[in-house]
Amino acid sequence: MRIRYFAWLKQRTGCAEEELDLPAEIQTVADLMAYLGERHPRFAEAAQGQGVVRCAVDQTHAEAAARLEGAREVAFFPPVTGG
């Protein structure tokens, strides 16, 4: 699965994207965030803040409970600030 990071989350993980083979027990966005937090301690730190890390599964906004089955690309980013 391809994982992407945007804005200042890239600085927390040190990369814009990574390809990962996820263990079978990673089934939801929340599972994935916990898993990524072990790889990137400063990502875990950000993920603890309420609403600070947002997620999109295959380019669609997704909540923490959303399931990852069949997903090819999951992105994490701070709240958007365009416009």
Partner: protein, 156 residues
Amino acid sequence: MVRVQAEPFDPGQELAHFAAGRTDIGAVASFTGFVRDTHQGERILAMTLEHYPGMTERELERIEAEARSRWSLDDCLVIHRYGRMLPGEPIVLVATASAHRAAALDSCAFLMDWLKTKAPFWKLEETPSGEHWVDARESDDIAAERWRARGPDRVK
């Protein structure tokens, strides 16, 4: 129509072409957002908009479709830039056309409110003290929320 581009655009010229030559449109509303030279008291030298290519276009198209389902619109245009821009440069243009003014004005405000909370853009400010990622404003969430409460209200 939705356009996501690095190139500058000219809002006056875009609006001159928007809905041009049509005689069935009574009302055009527009909003243009610009890079400001100050933010929270600090001088802004430049602004870089990062975005999520692919998702940006999809999300803007969803927002446009939502506006068209809520109001009877004759035309709709969203242009959003990414990349580095200087103070005074336009970042975003939203324009809506309808037979009547309430539909044009309300849908224009709706598009901006939803864009502000859903379109995957992030602002990086360059200031004399360094670079800062702009924090999301709670007021933007509140502005977007008011449309959820109202639900679809198709204005004739």
